[in-house]
């Protein structure tokens, strides 16, 4: 990817704004952008969601396939979550094999969902040692206007909660709703102008530093964290973020709840 010198001017501007407790978009430090969530929007997916999050647009489609279980877990289904940052999503993305950025996105969303235990892997088994469902979550970013982690994470859990297990397509009974016990939510904080803000947009990411993505479960416990990009932080800064994180996660969980049931 062609890397450009980030204009010193932008960094300086963001620092000045931060000094006055302001942001380039006029938002407050912990204020997110408008989020529009739509589910069941992809005709051939078994579960689907579309998130429009400011200038960011993400589709997630869930598909099921029948597989033989791994020999060391004969009664367990499996989960696969991948992301593709294709050239459609920004002029900065180039074609080719999966970039480190897209691999990281897929794996961070994967860990939040997997570690929350929201899907009972044993419930995905049809015949022990013979066949079990693999749940495949495909994240398709269509427009990267900043903070794709949170948009992708939201669309992924919404699509899962929207999903129908296509048993009839595979001749193993009637279709039924996938049981999803919990709603893990990702919140991302980015250092901009020296301080952390929630939900950085495209310009803030360009002129910002490190990024912390945190997935919280329904009961407030943490299921994944990921520090990305150049920059460091302190344990005290992490604590401050975690307080905000709880509130934002609850709000977004409510949004999912309002759409899927």
């Amino acid at each position: 990817m062609a890397k450009q010198v980030v204009p010193q001017l932008l960094r300086q501007h963001l620092a000045n704004l931060a000094d006055d407790d302001e942001r380039i978009s006029g938002r407050g430090q912990w204020q997110g952008r408008d989020v529009v969530l739509e589910v069941d929007c992809l005709y051939n997916a078994d579960g689907s969601a579309k998130v429009v999050w400011g200038d960011t647009v993400v589709y997630v489609g869930v598909k099921f396939e029948l597989k033989e279980p791994y020999s060391d877990r004969p009664t367990s289904g499996s989960l696969m979550c991948g992301a593709d940052l294709r050239p459609v999503a920004h002029r900065k993305y180039e074609p080719g094999p999966p970039s480190p950025e897209s691999i990281e996105l897929g794996r961070v969303v994967d860990r939040g969902i997997r570690e929350s235990g929201c899907i009972d892997m044993n419930a995905l088994c049809i015949v022990p040692g013979e066949s079990a469902w693999m749940v495949i979550i495909d994240i398709h970013v269509i427009s990267d206007g900043g903070n794709i982690f949170d948009a992708a994470g939201l669309a992924a859990i919404a699509a899962l909660r929207n999903a129908t297990v296509p048993a009839s397509r595979y001749d193993v009974g009637e279709d039924y709703k996938l049981a999803v016990a919990l709603t893990p939510i990702i919140c991302t904080f980015t250092r901009v102008g020296g301080r952390y803000v929630y939900d950085a947009d495209e310009e803030e990411e360009l002129g910002g530093a490190e990024r912390l993505s945190i997935t919280l479960g329904d009961n407030g416990s943490m299921h994944s964290m990921q520090k990305g990009l150049k920059g460091t932080f302190t344990a005290a800064e992490l604590s401050e973020i975690l307080d905000v994180c709880k509130t934002r996660c609850s709000e977004l969980r409510d949004l999912v709840d309002s759409k899927v049931e």
Partner: protein, 242 residues
């Protein structure tokens, strides 16, 4: 074409399984500007098919060895999202997508005023979100609108349309069952404003007369869809959509 012949695709009254007349297209919807970060973009729903297209550029063509000294390179990627079909598609290299990308790029290189942008590149990114027969045509339609939205000068908008043959009858715009069990398919990219054909593929079995009928259907349908595309663009620039 599957061409099995043992699957019934026409009702006794001559209408098609989904109730359409033989010269009737599936409904087409167009939205402009659906990808905020792109220079131009469009969303097209054609029957159950759904495609988005982003246009980026003109921009400097790199690496330099792809540059053309006297014109812009048209760089098209046609891609089917993994969840766009009944059986999931693995991401990655795909011979069918490469071929469609190539011939689509060649179609737009014929209609975009590429000579105005020497040594540059125009990227056309087509993503199929739902596929139910005819996606290459839907992608072409979306790309034309996205190019217009990006303000790229063209000699005209190419419209993607197809006719085919089922039960020895030429029909307009095959749906999935008709595509799977039909006898021929003729996708074309037509510029209704000039009458030119910029894109054409065909497979199956067509006599010369059937070919002529299929071409006629395609030209008529292209003119109609062209109106929908223009209306969407007007609505977008009048601020009227959404």
């Amino acid at each position: 074409m599957g061409g099995y012949g043992d699957v019934k695709l026409l009702n006794d009254d001559g209408s098609r399984l989904d109730g359409r007349a033989i010269d009737e297209s599936r409904p087409v919807e167009v939205k402009v500007g659906v990808i905020p970060v792109a220079d131009g973009s469009a969303w097209v729903k054609h029957g159950l098919n759904e495609a988005v297209c982003a246009v980026y550029g003109p921009m400097e063509a790199h690496p330099r060895k792809i540059q053309l000294q006297d014109q812009a390179v048209i760089d098209v990627r046609y891609n089917m999202a993994p969840f766009s079909t009944s059986d999931r598609i693995r991401p990655g290299f795909n011979r069918r997508s490469r071929e469609i990308s190539k011939v689509t790029a060649e179609a737009f290189a014929s209609t975009v005023m590429v000579e105005r942008y020497p040594r540059s590149k125009i990227r056309i990114e087509i993503e199929i979100l739902s596929a139910e027969a005819g996606t290459r045509c839907v992608g072409i339609t979306a790309a034309s609108v996205a190019l217009a939205d990006a303000g790229i000068p063209m000699r005209g908008m190419i419209v993607g349309v197809a006719s085919g043959k089922i039960e020895d009858t030429v029909v307009l715009d095959l749906d999935k069952a008709e595509d799977n069990y039909g006898q021929a398919d003729l996708p074309m990219g037509i510029m209704p404003t000039t009458g030119e054909i910029a894109f054409m593929q065909m497979d199956g079995d067509l006599s010369m007369d059937e070919l002529q009928q299929a071409i006629d259907y395609n030209f008529t349908a292209a003119a109609e869809i062209h109106d929908i595309m223009e209306a969407a663009l007007r609505a977008h620039y009048d601020g009227g959509d959404e």
